[in-house]
């Protein structure tokens, strides 16, 4: 057991700006971009004094419809806030219909962040599935701005089909950086697809992994993370160096309402980023 790591990890919890946690700021949409068929990115103006760390999330209100938790998908030092969203529920569908100049409510940032300071000097393995890539994108911006701080950086990104690949141009740019490998794998290929086909774990045998110095950050479907974590452990990666971001029904964001409770943890406050060591027991419990 690595006690030093376990006491240190995770994770930095940033305080929300100095206002009631339930009072949203009203901010305009400054840009909107359609990423794939049902996934879009909205860029919001940031309230004064707003700062976030990679891995955190905001609560965004579409007035007259409702509020939802959205992970931050832009760089933590840029003056605007980017959220990449799949239009699947009433709030996200309504958000998809808004355009630059429209206003939304914004609370945040909330939750824990990826342990980038602790991972400095080590190899990074980022594993994303589907719309799990956006919460990891701020990590990539952090890494790209500090090329000498980390060892080898590998991104494994699994999606349903080539049409579902997010940030295609950026992925290509990342892959050109020295010391950085990016692999995109699709579950359903067409004849035109020249890349890997399979589930994201299909890429694992080819991973040149040094378990003693690799920190893994994962975000995606829980089934993906569960299987990936298990395979990483088989390769010798300690569970205290595997971090994952969970998605739950977050509402109050201050650990009061209990909607996001996960075992003894509140995903809104203690997460969304957890070390696998901390939650592995609850992660494997069947819900029904």
């Amino acid at each position: 057991m690595d006690n030093e790591l376990r006491s240190a990890a995770p994770v930095v919890r940033e305080s929300a700006p100095d206002r009631s946690p339930w009072t949203p700021a009203v901010v305009p949409i400054v840009d909107r971009r359609q990423e794939t068929g049902d996934v879009f990115t909205v860029t919001l103006a940031a309230p004064d004094g707003y700062r976030f760390r990679p891995g955190q999330f905001n609560m965004v209100t579409v007035f007259g419809v409702g509020e939802c938790a959205l992970s931050l998908a832009g760089a933590s030092d840029e003056p605007t806030l980017r959220h990449t969203v799949r239009a699947v529920g009433s709030v996200t569908r309504a958000l998809a219909r808004l355009r630059p100049g429209d206003r939304v409510g914004l609370r945040g940032p909330y939750g824990s962040s990826w342990p980038l300071d602790q991972a400095a000097g080590h190899d990074l393995l980022l594993i994303a599935g589907g719309v799990g890539l956006p919460p990891l994108r701020p990590v990539m911006y952090h890494v790209l701005q500090r090329p000498d701080v980390f060892g080898r950086v590998t991104v494994l990104y699994g999606v349903r089909s080539p049409a579902d690949i997010l940030y295609r141009d950026e992925l290509q740019q990342w892959a050109k950086q020295p010391g950085l490998k990016v692999w995109v794998i699709v579950a359903q290929a067409d004849v035109a697809w020249r890349g890997p086909v399979g589930f994201v774990t299909t890429l694992f045998p080819a991973l040149d992994l040094n378990p003693s110095t690799t920190w893994t950050f994962m975000c995606g479907p829980e089934a993906m993370m569960r299987f990936a974590a298990r395979l990483l452990e088989e390769r010798g990666v300690p569970d205290e160096r595997i971090f994952l971001s969970l998605e739950r029904n977050m509402q109050c964001t201050v650990g009061f309402c209990g909607h996001c409770q996960f075992g003894p943890e509140f995903v809104c406050m203690d997460g969304p980023v957890f070390s696998y060591w901390r939650i592995r027991h609850f992660f494997t419990i069947r819900e029904a």
Binding site: A187, V191, W193, V197, P205, A206
Partner: protein, 152 residues
Amino acid sequence: MSGAEPSPVVKRHAFLERLQEAQRQLLEPGLKSFTAAPGEYLAREGEPAHAFYLIQSGHVAIGTHLGERGAVPIQTVGPGDVVGWSWVVPPYRWQFDARAVDRVEGLFFEAAWLRELCEKNTTLGYQVLKQLIASISSRLAATRLQKLDVYG
């Protein structure tokens, strides 16, 4: 596809390294190296399964033909993976196509030679099959997750 006797240096592969040294020595005489150009087939559905491939570099798409959709890849395997278990199962015919996506380098055993060796030395055969089942198991697990469509 071209084949040759590999030098000792290139006889390394995860599949072999999981076996004991004595078992590797029994297998070594049958080990050959190969290269395949992009687009070249290592296996064609329905044809005799003549080899067992150990991939060292490059990627191989395993797939089938679906009428108007053409050759559709189902899964891609890469360095450290193996290609082919039809050589173990009668009637020893490939069940799917295996085609090089990029330049592929690796090692292979001729199927008849390996089968005969495993039949004669069942202790070795059992160890080879255990390693093969580990590969099949992880490939099957990935395929099941792929089929679940969890990415949404």
